[in-house]
Amino acid sequence: MLVTIAGRQVHVNDEGFLTEFDEWDEAIAAELAADIGLTLTPEHLEVVRFVRGDYRAHGTTPTLRRVTTAGGFATKRLFELFPKKPAKKMSYVAGVPKPIGCV
């Protein structure tokens, strides 16, 4: 469906996840973060940029494990930045689908 985020028309699915990779920008990320109670910091953005870059390169959303091994972010820190459900929250803010990998 077509909705307005940060003053722009973008496509989202039933859950509210962006469905068009290229419709994302940092202003949208800030509003998506605010949706789920997060204040977007440069550190959040660094993680989100890695998630987007990895999605662009591989066509799938990286799992939390991959964000730590390939992205170099510590598991503990990711749980602090995106509490409780880090993998889902970072993919939401990054405008990519939820990860489907097991580990």
Partner: protein, 168 residues
């Protein structure tokens, strides 16, 4: 602005509110170590309070001497699709173990010690069974450093109050 776009509820989903998972790890083979570890990691990633209780052969997973050397045996395992007479030949177990480890690594799934680190970093709890320690003459010093404690069955029953409990 009255935008009615959908927003995920993440933390407030009623199904996961107060959900708690306890997994009893009782096996010491490579293939049986992973189910508990993988489910624990997945649960933690969903914000679920998670406890692992290692008992009997499950001690292999947290014993510093064995945790990196778990083995997979095709013997007596029809799912390995290896003739019984062949599966017990010398060298078969180490070969099967090597193959399984390579497959696990290829999927970027960590080896057991690193997996335990990951579970601890994600906020998981690791408990070791008191009776197993006594039987095997082991103390907490022999175990993975980040174990939360060596506890008895009664304490585990207390910890698991209200939890979904899995026996692996």
């Amino acid at each position: 602005m009255t935008d009615t776009r959908p927003i995920p509820t993440f933390d407030d989903e009623p199904a996961s509110a107060g959900r708690k998972l306890c997994i009893i790890c009782s096996k010491g083979s490579l293939d049986m170590a992973y189910p508990g570890l993988i489910l624990a990691n997945a649960a933690l990633g969903e914000g679920i309070e998670t406890h692992l209780f290692f008992t009997f052969w499950g001690y292999e997973i947290i014993n510093k001497k064995t945790m990196a050397k778990l083995q997979f045996s095709p013997v007596g395992n029809p799912a390995s699709h290896m003739p019984t007479a062949v599966s017990g030949l010398p060298g078969m177990q180490s070969m099967a173990t090597r193959m399984m480890k390579a497959q696990i690594e290829a999927l970027d799934v960590p080896a057991v010690p690193e997996f335990l680190d990951m579970i601890k970093d994600a906020g998981g709890h690791l408990w070791a069974c008191r009776m197993s320690a006594d039987m095997m003459k082991l103390t907490q010093d022999d175990l993975y450093e980040r174990i939360d404690g060596v506890i008895g069955a009664t304490e585990f029953i207390e910890i698991s109050a209200g939890a979904q409990t899995l026996f692996v």
